[in-house]
Assembly symmetry: D3
Homo-oligomer: 305 residues x 6
């Protein structure tokens, strides 16, 4: 059961309102690396977790992330407070209001016109939060790695927001939120390595003949080596022929069709067969007009080589 206390986890002190800055903050409210994504990622994992220790940890951190959602949302609300008032109370001339709503040069217009200055669950481009951001799949050795990565990403986005925010009170609160992502990453790391073994993830085991090969699929200037493809652990396959049909087959797909299926597939192929030895007049030919070679006239805006 969740409970709520009116005090924020971190006191929010905004120096002056600024809908444009508010818009950028939305990234961590309703954006992919934001606090709702974090809270819901851990909360949904917790519900199905069998291990009591991990379940407790996931609930602890999910609950804290909800409190962070409140902190960042409160920052947005404070930054928008003046705009919200002006919009609702119809105090400006229309032309002034238009300038003020489009003046930030980002997507704060949607926060104002559509959401009335409240904090919407969108990212800074106005894209609504989607659970497609949540990558929990119900295996702890995969999910903990996803959580580690998610905390790393959130930390970086907070870094960026801190570095573009002139307001010291907002920067301080963002600093707290960023720091907690680091702490959470550490917890998830500990939880991952408290499962032994945890690699490869899950119970199924790889096929030994393919587990240590490195296929050098991109070649040419810039081909490089590093610990990810060199050393005794790796066998590099660079030959293009050896990269294909690595099972030793012919690389062509087959399926067994019943007699009836074979008949209809053959019929379908015959009906839609392309005549390869003709040069049909096409719609494009009809549309190109009388001037032959018309398609090769030069666009004056494209510089000639």
């Amino acid at each position: 059961m969740f409970m709520h206390n009116k005090r924020l986890q971190y006191t929010v002190r905004v120096s002056s309102t600024d809908p444009g800055l508010a818009n950028l903050m939305l990234e961590q409210f309703g954006g992919p690396q934001g606090e709702l994504a974090a809270a819901m990622r851990y909360f949904t994992q917790a519900l199905a977790e069998e291990d009591p220790g991990r379940k407790d940890m996931l609930l602890d951190i999910a609950t804290e992330e909800l409190s962070h959602l409140e902190v960042i949302g409160t920052i947005v609300a404070m930054l928008n407070k003046g705009a919200k008032g002006k919009l609702a109370e119809i105090v400006d001339e229309q032309a002034d209001m238009y300038r003020s709503i489009t003046g930030a040069g980002n997507d704060s217009h949607i926060t104002q016109v559509l959401y009335g200055g409240g904090p919407p669950l969108t990212n800074s481009a106005g894209y609504p939060w989607t659970a497609a951001y949540i990558d929990s799949i119900g295996d702890p050795t995969a999910d903990l790695r996803s959580n580690i990565a998610a905390e790393a990403r959130a930390k970086i986005v907070y870094d960026r927001l801190i570095n573009l925010t002139p307001d010291p009170g907002v920067r301080e609160a963002l600093g707290f939120l960023m720091t907690r992502e680091v702490a959470h990453q550490k917890s998830f790391e500990k939880a991952l390595y408290a499962i032994q073994p945890n690699f490869p993830p899950g119970k199924g085991m790889p096929m030994p003949q393919f587990a240590d090969k490195y296929f050098d699929m991109s070649q040419g200037d810039g081909n490089a080596s590093g610990p990810w493809n060199s050393g005794e652990q790796w066998e590099v396959v660079s030959d293009r022929t050896a990269q294909a049909a690595v099972d030793g087959g012919d690389g062509l797909p087959t399926t067994h069709l019943s007699a009836e299926e074979k008949k209809v597939v053959t019929q379908l192929a015959a009906r839609t067969k392309s005549a390869t030895n003709m040069n049909p007049v096409t719609g494009a030919d009809l549309g190109a007009g009388p001037g032959a070679g018309k398609t090769t006239v030069q666009n004056p805006n494209v510089p000639r080589k």
Copy 2:
């Protein structure tokens, strides 16, 4: 530049067509943990990568994932081949066709009716692939962790598909694809640890006073400890008061409003003020009908305690 060879990276051998099984395979074609997500995650990272070694590795693996997309999509196409023929050639009675299209008990109906038996870029529920699945953010210490996690998740989903597929040829190809996710995870791990230091991710540094605290936000039966919250590295904060306003402030948000802003916000608050000392008649009161206490009649389907 990309090039293509008609031979698959792994030969696909399907024993018999089965649109229902094809539908489940879509999870790794157009699903969140599937091969398009993998290919595009690494490809977009490669384009902006400054480090030549990582750039080469990302292009190698992105290209291999495209080849895997081709393998899994070919499996889907082979499993659907019979259904595609029957649907296009109109050979069955309508009632038979209806039964065959809805018979699998999953979402293969959409692959057939909407996509004509081809492999669509959807997951097994028919949800179209979205780039919201891609979590690249342009910092290598975060992105490599995301890649590690993504490979772990893909590996698990392949495990599940293998374990529900009776067809030995399909199982074998899935085994190859699963194995390669393990190999890729190993490469990304090497690449992450070839950056030193890589933790915390990014350049910004945490606030020391909050980096080692563990907030015990979920309490009661089941409270647990483990390496994620115990040991000398952690300071656990369990007291509910100490969890709030950890900056030492009052936990209440403030913002500075200009005189004009203050005026309109006050006006807005007055205009929309709620009268708290009255009990207004509401629409629900109007709608509840003459029988007082009507809302408390018991639903016969809800068992009484």
Copy 3:
């Protein structure tokens, strides 16, 4: 700040596992009328609310909805618990596993294969939750009406789930959740009518000449009247001519173009002008083949009139 207690708000007692039933329950976990939508609708409103009474109410109810999210998610997890185990531990033959995963006849296959038996934030069709479900716009007389409607919808969906659930423990917990939607609707109604006046919503006032008209746009058999279009409050406009250009103008749009704009628009119109006095040969003509009137051959599956 949010806190969590390990005890659920309502004890969940599941009689036997059933992934198919679990799938239907997702409607109230990650569906449009579900508990996350409710919690986030009220929480985002609370953050920007100026009225202290409404702010407190919104936080109370948002927090309770999070607790309901936990109850319904726990029901899903309990119903999926067996499937989760079998899937992870690879205990069945593949053919048995395939049958068990597709046997429910709904979308439980995605919960199992993609989400590993955990409760995902999707609806019962596997569609990920989206903040597009949240209709908060930052005006209390509109938002409270949205909340009233949302509670009414959620109540109905719970009714439906109760009426298709044979498990008495699940039915009882659903009954609790449904009842709370009714209680919340009552609270929001009280809050709406505690604002006087609350209609029309917002500060802008309608144009009197159009506020009481009812345009009878759909005519023919079935034209009806009721309090929504009859009585002294309404003026019905049935005449088709009087329905158009109600401002008394000509109903045609105009805009002022600068001389330069006029020139380019004219040029554009001339360049893409359609020749109306010719009968051009088209791609369809080319494609219809030598048999004239080919397009009128009858589909044998379409009954002749």
Copy 4:
């Protein structure tokens, strides 16, 4: 059957073209509170409605909303007319064109570059309209409340657009559209209360022991009371213990597992058990580098407390 007359329902007179203003207008064309959402909400309800009076009303209003979609879309087209011409006819220098396309400071760039100056079915942030906006669920006492709320929201968004539009002709047409939302709200209200009783919505009845309780989930400074939680109709539950497990149980979930299920769940738990009495070296430890306590170095951009 739908028919169309070339005259608009309200004459559109635009004083001068302005792609930036056009972009904001999209909110009511392809946005969540816009005219397509309104038309489709009522139209889909009408199709399944059993009551002849409501069915007629829903079709009347749906059809009018389609006519409003035409009015607002025409406003967008007129405002974009000059930009459309310049873009198609390639009349400006590239640098001028770039400035003109990005100059509005909002998302008009997408309307121009992607949609060629036509009115796309997106909101003002370029987010495509989605049927996820439509909350019809097929029960009239819920759907009419949803319609009432939707009209209230649309009215508010029109207020905002009116108040930021300097062009008198556009403002007048917006005033008409806003007024009609008020009129429609009145019709839907009448239709709701013409069903008696209409509360609680639907046929299922609440559990009496929970219908009048108010759970005070958010506590601390700012706790308030009002008609939504005070008065004889309400019983407030503030005690944290009494808020949990309100059914009188222990608040812990249970499910019955078959013997086989029990075995695999136990096996899963054992396999993924976390070792709680160790302090494993983690990836973060490896990545933190030789400097101990490295994570606590201060970010120079985060002010010290």
Copy 5:
């Protein structure tokens, strides 16, 4: 302005209710190739069209498509009519209701539980309609081609629905709708070729040196030729070297950086440089456990080659 008549464009006669069949019909109601997509594609094009003839045609056909939306939606409503009643009136035992709701083997469960038996604007997998389906871009020679293609696709989906529908009345109405797609395609073809020239679309002209080349990017068994790459109009480029950097450059990207930019990019590269000559211990190494070579153990479910 739109008007409505209560008579359908085509009389709908359903022989017996069937929610499973209704679910498949949704493909043409709220699916990508369905009637809403058609209506909105043409309607939005019409609003910005400068040519009076095309504008009239687009409005004619858009309006007819809305009437078709009504026909197909009415079919869905009729097929769901019984299910809607049972669901709302709570007449069945829960176990019977559960079986009836999941019995169709497709996604009719969502139409029933979430949408109450009404016709939702989703496809047959429950995916809500999105304006991302609409590909209008504001150039008539492109848009008419898009319309031609859209009609062709819709025609095919109707073919499929006809061929799986046993109900003669439904099949007849579907036959009408399918036929009209053919008629509309013919109109759009005439309108396209009434613009001369219409190829290449738009005003910009291609670069002559690249307009007639065919790059043979996919090679190996199955390489083929046809009118799309053979004949005097085409120059086939098969040599892999000649396919790259076709401008004659080195194929490597360059950009000019300011001195300051150069400095920070260099700094970034140095900070995140990967050490290529080491073999770091990784998280996967830590997690693989004491058994060396652990990753190469065989999954018993993956057949050995």
Copy 6:
């Protein structure tokens, strides 16, 4: 199998970095008419194609489009290179960084803050790429038309980008990409007309009585004729009565209900019947306050007629 060569298909030469211009380029990277959509449209078609010639062509062009995705993505990366460095290395004052991030006046803020200056798979408004853009349906005569239209659209969007790009190197590369769309359109045209007949698409045949009718649904000033509705091939139906119920029926829907269905539907209709002969007090009446006629007060911002 896909392979990769480090050389681009076209050398990218950027004169100076510009995140604002980069943002517009995203339209062809992750936008609906962009290169990923093209590549995936043809690739998915190829996988299920039975005709060896078309299969080869689809793979050739899909592979080339992947190479174009690389070119346009590289342009974005080069244009963002400076911003990426500054953001990661924290070199600017916060206020400077804020100005630089919001200065472009478009959505480049999201590319920078969320994606770190890398090329995300979004359009220029930050909307993530979705497979809903792909309209392949598995019939070659429909899919080839879709491909033709898609190439036409992509060509137009490139025209627009060329015409707003001052950088000559970028313009040249865009000119190459645009030219290739023209070449691909020509190939797809040839492939379509190499199938004879190809119209109407698919195997089902239209109903002759409806195939040549043109329903004049939009009437009034502006009614026009052209080859799409005039000439001997067309029969125009303008009479409103003749447009409805064209099958000769009454235009009203019917369905057969079982006795039990009839009973519950009747019961549902009775329970939710609207009382049409009363004028109920509504929530809006309660909310309109004591001032009668309140709804007709004039909004001062809406000019009086």
